[in-house]
């Protein structure tokens, strides 16, 4: 049994030595202060383990053994003290607390050296008390950081959280082992010894995981956040309202994704779109190291921290997405770089989409403003033209000869037409700016249809007889009378306009199933099936050889359908090229 104890003890010591060396090498590779503190702690631990084995295996001359004991004590306290310093670098301690901790550590080490240099060392009770004090102080120095780490880990991204918890767990187990050894005293049996050694041995990989978790483990930790991340990417690409909002989301997820403590997003003009967890100096340092137009790279900042920087190939020039490592994210490897590069692709796509959307929205606004302004500016001259035309018509400006009267008639019709177009443009602008308000009131749809047709009839020649077919009972609707008239006059006007050879125009009102329908059927040129989708779009006027000479803004049908939809209805069309079209306005009927 004792050989088993010896073997396990040796194995554990060797493992801790290996861990210390590995931590030291890791520090040499990265040379970061905080990582260095942790490495020093683990190296001290390795030293304690090694010395423990040496003093146990080799019988040394007394003075050498005494010196080695002092060194052992020093290293032992150093393990805890460096952990405390590491904690301080991560979450700063009160300076006074740190000073007291330093003094106590020094006092314990010196006290021990003094006690062991004097005959007091022979007294079992003195060494016992000294050992008790030593372990308690050590446990205190270790205990505070491990509790702090555990508590701080909650708020961290998964990779950081797991690493912090690993460190916390390993430290806690070490503290527990020492306390158990202390209180169990010499009453140990070999089975307990083996168990304790095995538990300590098990902590070596846990320590290592906290310093440098292997790629597969990092990926696994991250994997649990992947679903969330996928949603975030979708959100980034589809639903972000603007570039800044998108940038905020992008950096949060970039930091989470690779387990970084801070992140930064810079656009092609070098403007910081968003940053988190970074001070101005760090932002400047990362910006200064702006990489080329493509790819990812690892940066080491002046303070030793590392960052991964991914170039974003934005249209306007390369932007930059950077993630900075923190105390628990010192390891950035090719895995993280690849991930950030891929994620950067999504961010680029999202940013470009947001930029295009913003630009389109701005263009749309400008266009609507122009439509609005132009229409109002056109109203001025129109007022004068129509005003004088009407005064001429009423003879207020003196008599006209017959040619003058004919000319005046044409001018009047054209001015009215122009006025109609301006009104359409204004209505379209109102609609697009969301300023269009319906003035709903109950009507009999038959009356609305009748008055609308009456409005158009005087303007229509005899080649286009208009027939109305309506039910006998009232068709109750709640509508904006003026707007429905606009729709119907537009539909009838179109029916006439696009039947250049003449022909009947049939207006039919049908009521049933909670909805009413007004269809306007002509025998005109019809519309090609390929042109139908464009028919109701803004300025989507279909120009064919037969119709291109006819005036129109292409706003009429667009407006009509939008107005119908504002009423909770719609306009549909069926057409047979060469034989005519039927436009149908559907409106919900009023319940009572």
């Amino acid at each position: 049994m004792s050989s088993a104890v010896g073997f396990v003890t040796a194995l554990t010591a060797a493992a801790f030595v290996a861990l210390g060396i590995a931590a030291g090498i890791d520090w040499l590779r990265h040379r970061e202060r905080r990582r260095g503190l942790l490495a020093l702690s683990l190296l001290s631990l390795a030293g304690v383990a090694a010395l423990g084995r040496v003093t146990m295996l080799v019988s040394l001359p007394k003075p050498v053994a005494a010196v080695l004991t002092d060194v052992d004590i020093l290293l032992f306290m150093a393990t805890a003290y460096f952990v405390l310093l590491f904690r301080d670098s991560f979450i700063p301690l009160d300076r006074r607390v740190l000073r007291i901790a330093t003094l106590v550590t020094a006092a314990v080490v010196i006290g021990f050296a003094v006690v062991f240099a004097t005959p007091l060392a022979a007294s079992r009770s003195v060494t016992g008390i000294a050992g008790f004090v030593l372990v308690l102080v050590w446990a205190g120095l270790m205990g505070e950081p491990l509790v702090t780490f555990w508590r701080a880990s909650h708020a961290l991204p998964r990779v950081q959280r797991q690493r912090m918890r690993a460190l916390s767990t390993a430290l806690a187990v070490l503290v527990l082992i020492l306390l158990v050894s202390l209180f169990a005293g010499s009453a140990r049996n070999p089975a307990v010894d083996v168990t304790i050694q095995l538990v300590a041995l098990a902590m070596v990989p846990v320590f290592w995981v906290s310093i440098a978790p292997p790629t597969w483990l990092r990926r696994q930790w991250r994997g649990q956040e992947d679903d969330q991340l996928r949603r975030a990417v979708t959100d980034l690409l589809n639903f972000s309202p603007g570039r800044n909002a998108l940038a905020e989301k992008a950096i949060t997820w970039a930091a989470r994704g690779v387990g970084g403590s801070g992140a930064l997003l810079i656009d092609s003009d070098g403007i910081v779109l968003a940053s988190t967890g970074l001070d101005a100096a760090t932002i400047e340092a990362i910006t200064a190291a702006h990489p080329g137009a493509r790819g990812e790279q690892m940066l080491t900042l002046p303070d030793g921290r590392t960052a991964i920087v991914a170039a974003l190939p934005l249209d306007a020039g390369p932007g930059l997405l950077a993630v900075l490592g923190g105390p628990f994210t010192p390891v950035f490897g090719s895995e993280e770089m690849t991930w950030l590069g891929a994620y950067g692709g999504s961010v680029t796509a999202g940013l470009e989409r947001a930029r295009v959307t913003e630009r389109l929205a701005a263009m749309e606004r400008t266009k609507t403003q122009f439509l609005n302004l132009a229409s109002h500016e056109l109203r001025g001259p129109l007022t004068v033209i129509r005003g004088y035309v009407s005064m001429l018509e009423h003879g207020a400006l003196g008599p006209l000869n017959e040619d003058g009267k004919r000319a005046l008639q044409i001018m009047s019709a054209k001015a009215t037409e122009m006025n109609g177009l301006v009104e359409q443009m204004l209505e379209a602008a109102r609609l697009e700016e969301g300023r269009l308000e319906l003035h709903l009131a109950p009507y009999d749809l038959r009356d609305v249809v009748r008055t609308s047709v009456d409005l158009v009839r005087p303007l229509v020649d005899q080649e286009h007889p208009i027939t109305i077919d309506m039910p006998d009972r009232p068709v109750k609707v709640e509508v904006d009378m003026e707007r429905i008239q606009t729709i119907l006059t537009n539909l009838v006007d179109n029916a006439v306009k696009y039947s250049p050879e003449g022909g009947n125009v049939l207006v039919e009102v049908v009521n049933g199933g909670g909805a009413a329908a007004v269809s306007v059927r002509d025998q005109g040129v019809g519309i090609d099936a390929a042109d139908l989708p464009r028919l109701f779009t803004r300025f989507g006027r279909v120009a064919t050889a037969a119709t291109s000479h006819l005036p129109g803004t292409g706003l009429g049908l667009y407006l009509s359908r939008e107005l119908a939809r504002l009423h909770g209805g719609d306009i549909t069309v069926e057409s047979n090229p060469g034989h005519g079209s039927t436009f149908t306005l559907r409106l919900p009927t009023a319940s009572s």
């Binding site: 009407s390 207020a396 400006l397």
Partner: protein, 162 residues
């Protein structure tokens, strides 16, 4: 047109614009020179910065027997209204400098001169604002003929509710 002194005399304004004085000189003369019979002509203050529109309305209104004074900006309009120089104000909204609403704000509650807005901006928000400021009516110029305005004036003069 720029100076009130010039434009208060309609024939002089017309001359400045290089247009015929009035369409029906005899009617205009009768309106301007009713020395003996009937009440004095209704005085209309036309606040309009577009000379072509001002000229046209003036021609129609003078022809229909009204006395028309034209001013081209808000400040002149306010001072003339305060002087009690008008029985009815036809007020454009878009003016050089301060707009027509500022005229309404300035004369709000002072006297009872009815004001009718004549503008080519007829968006609901503007109509609402005009009504809130006490305008008797809000007319979109391009939608009405000068004759229709002339015909509506008696109604505007008698209807006391804004």
């Amino acid at each position: 047109m720029r100076s009130t002194a010039e434009v208060r005399n309609p024939p002089q304004l017309a001359w400045l614009l290089g247009l015929p004085v009035v369409a029906s000189p005899h009617r205009a003369f009768a309106a301007e020179h009713r020395f003996d019979a009937g009440p004095p002509p209704t005085r209309i203050l036309l606040v309009e910065d577009d000379p072509a529109i001002a000229q046209m309305y003036q021609m129609q209104l003078v022809g229909d027997g009204y006395k028309v004074e034209i001013v081209g900006d808000a400040a002149a309009a306010i001072s003339r209204i305060r002087e009690g120089a008008a029985d009815l104000v036809l007020l454009d909204i878009l003016l050089p400098g301060a707009d027509g609403f500022s005229v309404l704000e300035s004369v709000l509650g002072q006297g009872r001169t009815p004001v009718v807005i004549l503008s080519n901006y007829g968006e609901p928000a503007m109509v609402k604002r005009g009504q809130e400021l006490g305008a008797r009516d809000y007319v979109v110029k391009s939608r009405v003929t000068p004759r229709e305005i002339s015909v509506a004036i008696p109604g505007w003069l008698t209807d006391r509710s804004p």
